[in-house]
Symmetry: C3
Subunit: 140 residues, 3 copies
Amino acid sequence: MKTHTEYLWFDTSERVEFINITRDIDHEIGRSGITDGLILVNPMHITAAVYVNDAESGLIHDYKEMLKKLVPQHPSGEDYRHNLTGEDNAYAHLWRTLMGHQVTMAVTDGRLDLGPWEQIYYAEFDGRRRKRVLVKIIGN
Amino acid sequence: MKTHTEYLWFDTSERVEFINITRDIDHEIGRSGITDGLILVNPMHITAAVYVNDAESGLIHDYKEMLKKLVPQHPSGEDYRHNLTGEDNAYAHLWRTLMGHQVTMAVTDGRLDLGPWEQIYYAEFDGRRRKRVLVKIIGN
Amino acid sequence: MKTHTEYLWFDTSERVEFINITRDIDHEIGRSGITDGLILVNPMHITAAVYVNDAESGLIHDYKEMLKKLVPQHPSGEDYRHNLTGEDNAYAHLWRTLMGHQVTMAVTDGRLDLGPWEQIYYAEFDGRRRKRVLVKIIGN
């Protein structure tokens, strides 16, 4: 069994930003030499998520609106308890959980085994600083 | 290390429908000859989810009500941005993310290693057409 | 390829309680002798979740408040359909899904490959009874 580990770095210009990383992930599969197995894509920071959905800008807008509605970034009245630590990113911790935070995908014939519209996104919720995404591939 | 890949097809009669696929998944484990490892169950379409919970019709009703309340299917007033593309399924993209979208389970002694009430469901949110679920098993 | 399977038992004194299990998981990796691979951490009961986030008590408070707001434990007026079975834990089934329910993490150099703040939590939503979390490690 072969394994391959890589850390991808991202640094967004916006605090909340969605980046399509499908090509980066496929590139790592190529580098690994693994043709059949599983690949874990896990953000190593706890205010970001990796998820799979459509590469459509309207949908990305809808994701942001959904998150803001369900978990306001800056609630009026009482604030999040986490923000009493001096942080102002409680919403980002909660959003990343609602988004599912990580994905495991299949590698078949040496590449991502994707349906017609599946794309892998890195969703940054507290950006403007460098953050890592762990990629671990295991298989034959 | 052995691997096994299969694509299960589903075609629902309802637009929103929940299907217990636990037997299908166990059947694939039997076919694989793998007795110890991991199994990924991932919908290849981005308006569906795979999740683990109880096979209880009341609970399935509660899931649907929760999703409709948190993310309305057809909001009055402003619509989802994604639906400006001509689609009317933005809710389905969002629901599948809230449901966790995919699961990885353990294979032990040649079958799914489940707790007493764990059942694997395929949750279709934009059905009435054929869709695939990828099953990838790796192990010994 | 090596595999290692263990069942961790938890028994909470509160009905809703969050437990940091990062050390337990790292201990299992040590026992497995596996230095490079993947580890699945999956609650075997359907009213609990495993998730990754910060070990900060304010944030844990915020998670509970978010869940209560999105899916009330004891709604006034109409109740959850699942509770007509005689149960009163429908909220717990739904919460565990919103929390993502399970995680798969990387094992590198014989331990959890974590970012600076990543901690693995067991979130019990219907406790005061013994429940199992499955740990399955595969790798070299």
